[in-house]
Amino acid sequence: MATNAYGPGAETLLDIYRRTALLKANDERIRKVITSGKIAMVYYSYRGQEVVPSALSACLRDDDQLCTIYRGIHDMLAKGFPLKELWAELAGRTTGSCKGKGGPMHLTYPPKGIMVTTGIVGSSAPIANGLGWAAQLDKSDRVAIATFGDGASNIGAIHESMNLAAVWKLPVIFVCQNNLYAEHTAYKKMTGGETIAARAAGYEMPGVRVNGNDAVEMYAAAAEAVARARAGEGPTLIEAMTFRFHGHNFGDPGEYIPKEEMAAAVAADPVPALRAKLIADGIATEDQLAAIEAAIEVEIDEAVEFAVSSPWPVADDLRVDVFAEEIAR
């Protein structure tokens, strides 16, 4: 797909880059912190997929709502999840957004529209529909986003959701981040049909496959889908082609990925590619971008420090937030 009427301007491209730089630095820091033993956590690296949510979020407002998955910290950070509350949650501390009760797979931050993070494959989509229904009832033009993986596109919940969104004309955008692997299984091996995008036709909704690693293409597709949803024209499925560089979860060496495939993907790393484009197109200078990146590192330093110096929850907290009323001792 080439760009459409919705292609990003220079300002927007710089905005997208700012987000990708944050995402990339944050992933690198998480892996470093786990390796050092400073914080132990389950972690699903999104390194390599940064452009997808960065370009998407550049089209979104804070009141647009997101349902994402265990591999979703990139989606959330791109949408504005604050770093301190993020890191404190990763560290399991009371100052985390979920008071340490959710963790990396259940991060939530409603002030930025980050409503649900699920650890269940495919389960982001049914709930995003409900958020879309609420927007319809509120007569608001806000939209709901469901992100999920290529593997998830084969589970029933996704299909039930796309059908319902189509028949109810919900303002929902289904964003499949096709990183070509589901755990250890190659996309081709377990997927009937050439593309996931083609499945949208079965529900008479627009479905597009784009190079999710290309900021211009990804932004154009997202902007068009968001505009349709805001105008009450219903859902869209975007299949964003991308790749993950670090295995399924932290500690997975990814030996099932052919070496040449991985090498080619890393050589085409979308973050430095976007950076180079900004400089080549005269949108930003090397110094400007370096300053942005340095500021991000400082922010992450502060967030990590905040997290590890925050208090742990106590056993009595188990009785709180199960229901509105506390569970009796």
């Binding site: 709502q65 349902c67 985390g96 957004s97 979920c98 008071k99 340490g100 009760k101 959710g102 259940h106 939530t108 931050y109 409603p110 409503m115 649900v116 699920t118 650890g119 269940i120 389960s123 989509a125 049914p126 709930i127 995003a128 529909n129 409900g130 958020l131 879309g132 229904w133 609420a134 927007a135 319809q136 009832l137 509120d138 709901a144 029933g156 919940a157 039930e160 959701s161 059908n163 319902l164 028949v167 109810w168 709180v320 937030d321 199960v322 229901f323 509105a324």
Partner: protein, 333 residues
Amino acid sequence: MNAPAKPTVTILAALNKALSDACAEDEKVILLGEDLADPEGGGIVGVTRGLSSKFGDDRVRSTPIAEQAIMGAAIGASLAGYKPVAEIMLMNFTTVAMDMIVNHAAKLRFMSGGQTHVPIVIRTMTGLGFGSGGQHCDYLEAWFAHVAGIKVVAASTPEDAYGLLRSAIEDPDPVLIIENLPTYYTPMSHELPDPSHRVPLGKAAIQREGSDITVVTYARMANETRNAAAKAAEAGISVEVIDLRTIAPWDRETVLASVRKTGRLLIVHEAVREHGVGAEIAAVVNEELFGELKMPVRRLGGAFAPVPYSKPLEDAFAPNAARILECITQCVN
């Protein structure tokens, strides 16, 4: 002397009025489910009849046959400030929506550290008696009672059906309401409840006071137990009948106070006895009142088998008034 007027009010009518009153009072109340709107008949048994015409098809929506999508839509809308009442036609069909109910509805409040909550009601019907066999009438309340974060409710009278549903809709957390299909149409009361009528969640009803034995029950088995208790009284046995009404969280205080008084406890439910709700109640009563019991806690429940089709087998599957009476008599003598 005039014969007393025959009751005319059914649980079905009470539920319909509760939904209608709730929609009228709070525009955040929305309904969804298969065949639920009037063009589709207002529900397959008619619990929601008339509501889409009254409140519009934006708020009262028929859905595709897609239980995960139904539950997801309810959960999502609730996260955005609505109070959805989702109908899952039959309780066995909750099994294809367990992920949405158990992993999401029940847990989002906790996992988000209280930033979000899921004020939904799930209405579902079940119960044997119509010869529908193994996949259409299970009582699965124990599955849900085992999950922290969801409340489970079952009424046995029109007043309770109305009051519990209204309370459930107003509750800030997910509530599963189990309705009994075979007794939907049984006239039980004389007047439909007033719009202000509420039955608090977590509060049992002592439906009959007695001193010889406590029977704890709920749903259709409460009706059977009331009949058994009336017969027992003729034989000089005084039975205290407690209808739990809320199965989770159950009313420990009321049950323990009653068993402390009678010294005997029988628990009756239609669900398979093994690993059922009765086991939890028996365990707590043993923990709290062991020294005061005159007999070991007894349980009557469904057979450890799928619900059968053939009439004699269906009759044999679940407790009934005669079997409850027999058990009560054994316990007391």
